[in-house]
Symmetry: C2
Subunit: 207 residues, 2 copies
């Protein structure tokens, strides 16, 4: 064991932080492009929609309009999110797909028609100059069940998304084709989950 005096520890720390700062500055100096991002939040962990909601709220903080299409109608969009976003009617355009969870319907043809109509709305919102950010919540689930052809969705996002527009796609099991064209992809990985310990979903946390 090496014993270090307080002064030595402080000097070592100052040196380390100086290097850290220099490397941060060097990294940032090389960055300049400002562009609309295609962002994907995927993985089996929590926080995919919450993180998107955080970005939506940052936009709202700047008074920038956002468009949201909720592809899978979850309880959260009837309670927490709807209440919250309802406070900013001038800034938020919200389209909630009008049917329950897909696993409640057991009617593939109906699910596909509903997904199609939500996707058409999503395209309108993305094309609309007013919105800086469009959130396509749980679109990955729709793609996973092949309710919409991934080729069509990817082609639109790659070729027709305006260059300055941010689009966030959430949902587990993101298709590789989508990840391929995305700019920023984060996988939320489950390390520990309270459901496993007998704790149910809670208001304010999950919805």
């Amino acid at each position: 064991m090496t014993v270090e005096t307080e002064a030595e520890a402080n000097a070592r720390h100052a040196e380390k932080m100086k290097k850290h700062k220099a490397s941060k500055e060097k990294l940032l100096a090389g960055k300049s492009a400002d562009k609309g991002l295609l962002i994907v939040h995927t993985g089996a962990g929590k926080g995919k929609t919450s993180a998107a909601l955080g970005m939506v709220m940052r936009h709202i903080a700047y008074d920038w309009p956002v468009g949201i299409v909720q592809f899978i109608k979850a309880p959260s969009w009837e309670t927490g999110e709807a209440k919250l976003l309802g406070r900013f009617p001038d800034l938020v355009t919200l389209h909630v797909m009008g049917e329950g969870f897909t696993w409640d319907t057991q009617d593939r043809a109906r699910d596909m028609a509903v997904a199609r109509s939500a996707w058409e709305r999503a395209k309108e919102l993305i094309r609309d100059e007013r919105h800086r950010l469009v959130l396509l919540d749980e679109l990955n689930i729709v793609l996973r069940y092949d309710y919409l052809p991934v080729e069509e969705v990817v082609a639109f996002l790659r070729d027709e998304k305006p260059a300055d527009k941010h689009v966030i796609v959430t949902g587990r099991n993101a298709k590789p084709e989508l990840i391929e064209i995305a700019d920023l992809v984060t996988e939320m990985t489950l390390v520990k989950h309270p459901f496993r310990q007998g704790i149910k979903a809670q208001k304010g946390i999950e919805y």
Copy 2:
């Protein structure tokens, strides 16, 4: 290749969804405990603070007061977050640690004193009955640099956090001792990052 008729595909789908629904219901039926969670968002990916912010906003949507201690002063807390949270002065108590990024200061003793003072504030907010949720943003960074003893922080969160209070801790490199006592841990994993493609941090997305 097996060719399946539309009717067969629909029947197979209905069966699959029915099973999915049954397993969801079974899972939920076993859950009943309602308790305050210790939540950790860690990992090198994006979305740790954004996801916490989403949960904060859900609380605000229900008119539930929240406390926030920002352990590392990031630009976001001077712009997007501050603007946003400033809209709800009756619901949000925000304490921003009064010094720049640790790698800007190069003064370990000062950083430690500031971290200590922020932690004392955090304890007050957690003990205060008014708040349902307390966010300790970037506390993991402070613990990583040993600005606060992890044993002390873990002992407080384990033994003194009121049972109905949610606490969210964010920051990469969460200490194993903290993960051990947490209820819900999500690791945000970097799959693809625009910094690597020469795109800088952007308003509304990162801050």
